[in-house]
């Protein structure tokens, strides 16, 4: 059997007396969407930040495709094939849609310590960025400055930018947050089409999206994973219902 794309083992993060991540163990295998759900304050963001390298864990280990990355910085992990989207979108607001994608492509080439080549006039880079935008619904917005995009378009652009990094593993931090119904459906369609390209860890509040997309679901409560199972089984799990789904009966 091949190594999982992401293997998290016994991860612990404490803030003073609070254990925000409590011995979390989970994995993502190739071609899988593994959803992580949990009530507010369960420690989902803290976990994501440790996975991408913005926050250092106190204990435990993280491996990407079999390689230990616990001690590596966020940019080093990104260069190993870990891409992410943000809960609150993070883009180059002064640049065009096309340039945001082009920047991801150019950094991905790994030649950014070049001082002379004019990449603002680089036709092949532009063409590649245009190809990355094709079929995403943003191709008509290529020349628009990012600060003028709608919230839904920004979410979409983040995903396109992450894909331009050619990731092996994608961390999605609430990609549906703030999207309307139509936009959510479009996003679900887009994510479903990506399964063959990379494994995904999907942190999401929108239960429709989770049950539409996930191959497996893990439930995080007070920093601890209380269950990992198939979506159907999670729905029936009494502990999960009590801790989470029962609260609002959103599912």
């Amino acid at each position: 059997m091949t190594a999982p794309l992401l293997q998290v083992t016994g991860l612990v993060k404490r803030f003073g007396g609070l254990t925000a991540t409590d011995h979390v163990t989970l994995d993502v295998v190739p071609g899988e969407i593994h959803a992580l759900i949990g009530p507010n304050g369960a420690g989902k963001s803290t976990l994501i930040n440790q996975l991408c390298g913005e926050l250092a864990p106190d204990e435990g280990s993280i491996a990407i495709d079999g390689a230990e990355v616990t001690a590596l910085s966020a940019p080093e992990r990104a260069r190993m094939g870990l891409a992410r989207t943000f809960q609150v979108t993070c883009l180059l607001d002064e640049e065009t849609v096309l340039w945001n994608v082009a920047m991801a492509l150019d950094v991905g080439r790994g030649h950014s310590f070049r001082f002379w080549r004019d990449i603002r006039r680089d036709e092949s880079l532009t063409a590649e960025a245009r190809r990355a935008l094709a079929g995403t619904g943003l191709e008509g917005r290529a020349g628009v400055t990012v600060s003028e995009l709608s919230h839904g378009e920004r979410k979409q652009l983040e995903l396109v930018t992450a894909l331009a990094q050619q990731p092996r593993l994608l961390l999605l931090d609430e990609p549906m947050a703030g999207l309307g119904h139509v936009e959510s459906q479009a996003m679900i369609g887009m994510l479903a089409g990506l399964k063959s390209r990379c494994g995904m860890l999907l942190v999401e509040h929108d239960m429709d999206a989770v049950f539409a997309l996930a191959d497996r679901v893990s439930v995080l409560v007070y920093g601890r994973i209380i269950a990992t199972d198939l979506p159907g089984a999670i729905r029936e799990n009494p502990a999960v219902r009590e801790a989470y789904l029962g609260e609002g009966e959103e599912a």
Partner: protein, 341 residues
Amino acid sequence: MADIDLTHGAQAPGRAPLLRALAALVVLAALPTLASALGYPALTSLVTRILIYGIAAASLNFILGYGGLVSFGHAAFFGIGGYVVGILYQNYSDETLFLGLVPGSNQMLITLPAAVLVAGAFAAVIGALSLRTGGVQFIMITLAFAQMLFFLFVSLKAYGGDDGLIIRRTNELPGLNMRDKEVVYYVCLGIAALFFAGLARLIRSPFGNVLNGLRQNERRMVALGVAPYRYRLVAFVLSGMGAGLAGALMANFLRFVSPDMMHWTKSGELLIMVILGGVGTLFGPLIGAAAYLVLETLLASWTEYWQLGLGLVLLFVVMRARGGVRALIVALGALLPGRQK
């Protein structure tokens, strides 16, 4: 589809800016002749200073406008560049060795690169430490380093201390009569032209775009795989080297260096030039340097309280003219009849 403007946020697209820059260069090349024909020979020396300060301010703007880091100690590198020229000249005329090791020189082809490299080395050390902080702390720590160097040179009696160093003759360049102020002007103009051409290229390079991306959104760039510290340090060093180049030219032009070149008020003047001209634009700082020095000259001829007038102008620019004098010129240009856009 193919003509979507990729250059948004950086420089204006197309060849028009290049043509305008070349036109400006032609005017500047004709300036000494025009100045003496019109009976204002002092104009040439004013424009020499504008070019030199323009290089220094544009260097500061590279780290400030494109890198998003407010350095309040750039006069240090300006002064270091000047002192390299001054110290090498003194060792040359005394026929002594600097620190018992390095012979002096009065050759510009040696002193200018030396000034740039030494300023870059200082920037590497100061940057390596300062860039571990950010925001206001970064402003204060760069200021502190510059003041340390200021007091070091004040106490350096062997090289003039408080009084500074007099450089009896401008450095020599093979085949040129550097005693002629006009020749010095053309040398400064040539160097400034090369400097701005190189800077324009740098801004559009992968490196320049990553730096600009870090200013806009560090998290985004980190997520793409960029390690911010290294890029910012290299940018800081390049910026220090540019300021060092300007300092070396200034030492040659004034034939004098003193600790005042690295006083914190000089750092402030450079910042004012950048803000006055337009932060984050290629030629804004040069325009800012021109505005600053012309205002200084005009206002100082009316009143010794000329800085009050300058303060009012700066206030107006910051409050009303977003993008500085450069943006104002662009806006006025757009109002001219017969202009498209």
